[in-house]
């Protein structure tokens, strides 16, 4: 890969107590590209995605081996609040705070010290525009974030994630709770966002991975039920001529 690398995992393993859930994964996440993690349920792809902003630290009994880097720095040595500002996350179910649309987006910047209302207004507008939601909510910024449609809520969550100007956005099945039109809107949005951000996405929808991502990583559990990285490469290659038979079987729906 000749791309500039934003994040990197090196020999990364993760254990829940004694149980090894991820086995010795090394991967490069290139700058301004969308990297998709695919694989059957339980293969560890969401766990792996959460490793990029240390979300797994919150789970009791989790230990790790190997290293994850952001811009060449070991993330385990970073301040976790600072790390999560740089590496934002969007979840499967839209989870706006029970606050106004404005306050949802302003939440992160406030937390990181921006107090001035007009500065916040600028950030909110910019973020909502970047999330392709501004035109739909600009006259209703005081409306509750929970009072808009599911697709709009998810774009609000994306606006909230980008309001703190992260470098990387992690998306865990961001469209699986949305209808097809809202899904396509999120996919279009991802294409816009990658101009400014690096995106890693977990998806069960293989056509979605094929449509939106530049790179695809296929994970699969081994005989000990530990997730392994089977194949990683340009999406076009993974979906046309994968080199591993297991990848071919999975993407063509022969198992999983």
């Amino acid at each position: 890969m000749t791309e500039e690398i934003r994040m990197k995992a090196e020999g990364y393993s993760l254990f829940y107590g004694e149980f090894k859930a991820l086995n010795d994964i090394s991967i490069d996440i290139p700058v301004n590209r969308i990297t998709a993690f695919i694989g059957p349920s339980g293969c560890g792809k969401s766990t792996f995605l959460r490793s990029f902003n240390r979300m797994n630290d919150l789970i009791p009994g989790v230990t790790t081996e190997g290293t994850v880097f952001l811009d060449g720095n070991d993330i385990s040595k970073e301040d976790v609040v600072d790390l999560r500002r740089k590496v934002g996350m969007v979840f499967q179910r839209p989870n706006p705070f029970p606050k106004s649309i404005f306050d949802n987006v302003a939440y992160g910047p406030r937390l990181h010290g921006t107090r001035n209302r007009s500065d916040l207004a600028v950030i909110v507008e910019k973020s909502l525009k970047a999330a392709a939601l501004w035109d739909e909510v600009k006259d209703d910024l005081n409306k509750s974030g929970l009072a808009i449609s599911g697709g709009q809520q998810q774009r609000l969550c994306i606006a909230r994630a980008i309001a703190v100007e992260p470098e990387v956005i992690l998306m865990d099945e961001p469209a699986s709770a949305l209808d097809p039109v809202a899904t396509l809107k999120i996919e279009e949005l991802m294409n816009e966002l990658k101009k400014n951000y690096t995106i890693a996405i977990v998806t069960h929808n293989m056509q979605q991975a094929a449509r939106v991502s530049d790179y695809t990583a296929f994970l699969l559990t081994d005989e000990n039920r530990a997730g392994n990285l089977i194949e990683f490469g340009p999406t076009r290659q993974i979906f046309t001529t994968p080199s591993d038979e297991r990848t071919e079987d999975y993407i063509s729906g022969r198992f999983g």
Binding site: T240, T241, E248, I251, R254
Partner: protein, 217 residues
């Protein structure tokens, strides 16, 4: 295996392609037989039988499009469907060559042939064998055969050149032969084109299995 319906449909498409190829191969063989025997009725049957070939090829095309639209094939499955589509076009064209030969046969009409046919039936025999082997190789993913079959196309080219030269000699000997000579040359040319199209089928077979486009011509 979790996609039994899909796999069954792919298998069915391969079988349909095999069957229509067999019809075309028989038509090609009969077209030369009826030419040698000056059988006008037979020639007319070949012309009409080609309609059925065209219909079968359209049917295959429609089924491929349905499968693509409903099953979202990727990787080998997608290459296979794409190859079935392109090969069915090759087969349809080979069918047209058989029909073309039968039409020429009709044009020659009751006229006696200027010479007994030797090399033209030989060309047909090689072409028919190549066609059968190529479609078998495709349906069985036999890339070894797919690489070997195109080497036989050389023989076809040599035979065609030989026929061409021989026919020129006939015209020089007796310019009155020119019309039939040109028609026989046209027939030999049709057979030579069959060989080229069989080579295309072999290229598709290799592409389907390996994902690598090849040029065997």
């Amino acid at each position: 295996m979790t996609r039994e319906n899909f796999d069954r449909e792919l298998e069915e498409l391969k079988q349909k392609l095999f069957q229509v190829t067999e019809s075309v191969r028989k038509n090609l063989n009969s077209s030369i037989k009826y030419l040698s025997e000056r059988d006008m009725k037979g020639a007319r049957m070949i012309v009409e039988a080609d309609e059925l070939v065209n219909l079968k090829c359209l049917e295959i095309e429609e089924q491929c499009l349905n499968v693509i639209a409903t099953q979202q094939p990727v990787a080998t499955d997608l290459r296979l469907l794409f190859s079935i589509l392109t090969i069915s076009t090759e087969i349809e064209r080979i069918g047209d060559y058989a029909k073309g030969i039968a039409r020429i046969s009709e044009k020659i009409g009751a006229e006696k042939l200027i010479k007994p046919l030797v090399d033209i039936p030989r060309m047909e025999e090689i072409a028919g064998r190549m066609l059968y082997d190529a479609i078998r190789a495709f349906t069985e993913d036999d890339i070894k055969a797919a690489r070997e079959i195109p080497t036989r196309d050389m023989k076809m080219d040599v035979l065609y050149n030989q026929i061409h030269r021989e026919l020129i000699t006939f015209v020089m000997q007796n310019p009155h032969n020119i019309e039939q000579t040109m028609m026989l040359d046209w027939i030999a040319h049709n057979l030579e084109r069959v060989g080229d199209r069989v080579v295309n089928i072999c290229e598709r077979t290799i592409f389907t299995v390996t994902g690598i486009p090849v040029d065997l011509n």
